[in-house]
Symmetry: C2
Subunit: 230 residues, 2 copies
Amino acid sequence: MKSKLNKELVIRLLKYRRILTQLKSLGFEKVFSNNLGDAIGVAPALVRKDFSLLVLGGNKRGGYNIDYLSEQLNRILGKSREQKIIIVGMGKIGSAVAQYKGFHQGDFEVAAGFDISPESLLHKIEVPVLPMSQLKDFIQTQQIEVAILAVPEDVATDCHRQLKDAGIRGILNFTPIELKTTENCIIHNINIGVEIENLFFQVVKSSLPFDVEAALPDLSDEDALADAET
Amino acid sequence: MKSKLNKELVIRLLKYRRILTQLKSLGFEKVFSNNLGDAIGVAPALVRKDFSLLVLGGNKRGGYNIDYLSEQLNRILGKSREQKIIIVGMGKIGSAVAQYKGFHQGDFEVAAGFDISPESLLHKIEVPVLPMSQLKDFIQTQQIEVAILAVPEDVATDCHRQLKDAGIRGILNFTPIELKTTENCIIHNINIGVEIENLFFQVVKSSLPFDVEAALPDLSDEDALADAET
DNA sequence: TAGATTGTTAATCGATTAACAATC
DNA sequence: TAGATTGTTAATCGATTAACAATC
């Protein structure tokens, strides 16, 4: 069964929703496909296609109604408030995420953080931090489904296993170990190190006076080669 | 000019390199396409295709030579060590990234952090933190090309402008504002809030006893409808 | 040799975009 | 009406995969 709601589409929908919320708070009532396209960095045709696919109609002259779009997106995406998450590994990244203010209108609540030695944490943290020994029990009694994994690399796979054993259904993985989605547990990997390396590469490539790819075989020469051979 | 090194390919190459480094440190000499595919979560055919595209050959029986692959990937990707970055906004996220240990073998050095009020930062930070007033001067004298943006949402666009004015060529943007790549400045956006919302959606979708998409028009019914109309 | 793995082709699959008729 | 924007089609573009001949 192929899903109509593929990952990229869902991300666009989530971004539309955020923009719409902001526009609404500014007092706007209508929005055009090119506005939304600009805001999230896609072509206006794709915005219209997305809404058309979900049967969210606009006006041929007046654009889309913001309230209507918001409601419908909430219906499709679910109002994700009251969702609880836990954070495993309350080091720098973990405690930063614990206090991240960018969550959409406080839709999420960090139920607890877990750490191997909660009492030794230096910085003050606004959520309860529990020892790893209480992880499984907490997940099951509080019915936690989603976790953020931010432990050191060397214990990543072990913590991954513990989370799966406890019945966690989704993990946002900040460790450099690439975890894999299984039938019972969805993994999204965010590898900050790779992201920075990638950005560096793109910058160097774009600012060099010569072509980085010159050292690679140039497929565009193939016609010339073929010509030369005749 | 279409580039052969598209973004997804570069990310795969960076991941191959990381895995190879680890394998080498474990004493391995050879690696097969299915090993690498497993490690980074892609099909073995894609691994072979990638190397074939870059003219990195293996042995029909013995797989790929790890040392050779490493060298060649370093040639193509560049040894990115000795690259300096700055971090703008030394709040939770910024200071977490400043001390992130996951960087590939210490390839990157955080030259400085910048904050609107460096003296008021609570947590101890291992890199010098300077006031925003010194941002432009520092970037230009130290020839910084890449910055990480981790300021509050409401000053994101202003900081973006300051970084561009100072000549920054690439920004890893952790704010929820979607910045756009321009000719002179490459932007990579990481929106942690959207990532969490997305993960939640995928989890809810997968664990519901009914089909989330049932409320959406079902294209697979079209044949049935067409049949019914005849 | 037999077996295993690469290298490559062709097919598939899907996402995006350009373009324009429809229509408000 | 004139003008602007949606809704949709068809084309394009590109990435991935299956499959298998080549060959070590």
